[in-house]
């Protein structure tokens, strides 16, 4: 534990200022930059710091920071797209602030789960899970047979279930 915390303190002292500068230039927002620099080092606590070389350490940090930037951008993008379409709805159906927060968080999670699925599979899954369409209707929309839609569905479900189970550390070989 001592070794870990010492090397972490050392890494933080050596690279935090540099990383903050990098993120400020990229994000154009000093608060976002400070948050992400902080998060980057938090991530580092959960991973083995294997690099001893100064340049490699920075490249490693920048890689983590880059992932966090994508997450941030994507979250904002999802939120914006969702709010834009909400603006078109009549006032009566506007969700409460709590509901909004839940929805944006859910969008972010679902988006991450589906990110690596092929386009048609994603689309079929969304049509079934969000819009409640029958497999036949989905097939018509996508221009494929019902049999293919079932394959898409099973593929999407398995993919997401694996991720869920991995999150819980439940998978075995």
């Amino acid at each position: 534990m001592d070794i870990v915390s010492t090397s972490f303190t050392h890494l933080y002292g050596t690279h935090h200022g540099w990383l903050l500068g990098l993120l400020r230039r990229r994000l154009n927002d000093r608060w976002d930059a400070a948050d992400l620099a902080h998060d980057t080092f938090i991530r580092l606590l959960n991973r083995p710091a294997v690099e001893t070389d100064h340049v490699r350490q920075r490249s490693y940090l920048a890689t983590i920071a880059r992932g966090l930037c994508i997450d941030l951008w994507r979250r904002r993008q999802l939120e914006k797209a969702w709010l834009d379409s909400l603006a078109l709805c009549p006032q009566a159906t506007q969700p409460s602030p709590e509901q909004r927060a839940i929805i944006v968080e859910t969008l972010y999670e679902v988006d991450a789960m589906l990110a690596r699925l092929p386009k048609n599979v994603r689309e079929a899954f969304l049509l079934a899970q969000l819009h409640g369409l029958a497999y036949k209707q989905i097939g018509e929309q996508l221009g494929v047979g019902e049999r293919m839609v079932k394959k898409y569905m099973a593929q999407a479900l398995l993919h997401c279930a694996i991720l869920e189970a991995e999150l819980d550390g439940m998978l075995v070989q």
């Binding site: 951008w73 993008q77 999802l78 679902v110 690596r116 899970q129 394959k151 997401c160 189970a165 998978l171």
Partner: protein, 316 residues
Amino acid sequence: MNTPGKLSHASLEQAAQWYVRLQDQGGALEQLHWQAWVAQNPEHLAAWHYVQRVSQRFTPLQEHAHGASRALRSSRRQALKTLLVLGVGSTVAWGTWRSTALPRLVGGWSADYATRSGETRDALLADGSHVWLNALTALDVRFDGVQRLLQLRFGEVLIDTAKDASRPFLVDTAYGRMQALGTRFSVLQSDDHTQLNVFEGRVQVTAANHPVRIIEAGQQVSFSRNGFQPTAPASPSREAWSRGVLLADNLPLGQLIAELNRYRPGHLGCDPAVAHLPVMGSFPLMDSDHALHLLQAALPIRVDKPMTWWVTVGPR
């Protein structure tokens, strides 16, 4: 529920299948079968729980389905463009193996005969022909009064045909049609080509827009949309798998690893730095861990397993 590492990939696969069946039909009989499956094994219940959890993720979004799907369809490219300016070296997209391996796994579910990774099987067809299916294979059998047709959707089959002068024996793949002329032969369908090995008799091959070819015993040929490769000597390894043996005769390590990958779930990758190493010997297909162990003992390589489902072979 909270004991880690209690759930297999196979159970999740079955649970996903069940979900689709119930959502699609959901009749009383289907429900009964599903209940029997859940009751069969506590692991099945756990797997079902995860598939259900996936489905429940969407619940908060359903009331606002239109806006939600618009948001989810918005392009990730914008975020990625911005990311490029950070200009750090590339990271490994560790998820990609799934999206490439899954269509094959999932596609097999509705074929007449199908095998998963790590499984081979043999089947006696109605005419007395004998078919062996290699791992990750899906085969449809369409016999009627005028022909005996096998459709190999992916994977590999080895066939001993029975004689039936009145009905030709045909094997179709995405790239062409093979007609057995009294014979034992194997057909391997991969993503971009079909490979035919003839061990006895002859096989006639028709590939789109190319003249018909006849492949003799002891020969192999590969063909794709772009036509035929030159014929080569038949490869004994394309028959050996039906006996559970992977035969390597100067086989590059990369190819051998790709072959082993069909016998285990998850990712098994080979570092290009060692992919060219020639391998000689025979390896047990059904015990790929043991095969990897043998390889590690014989070659200057190291087998790494940084996480479950993820094995890489690299230089030592």
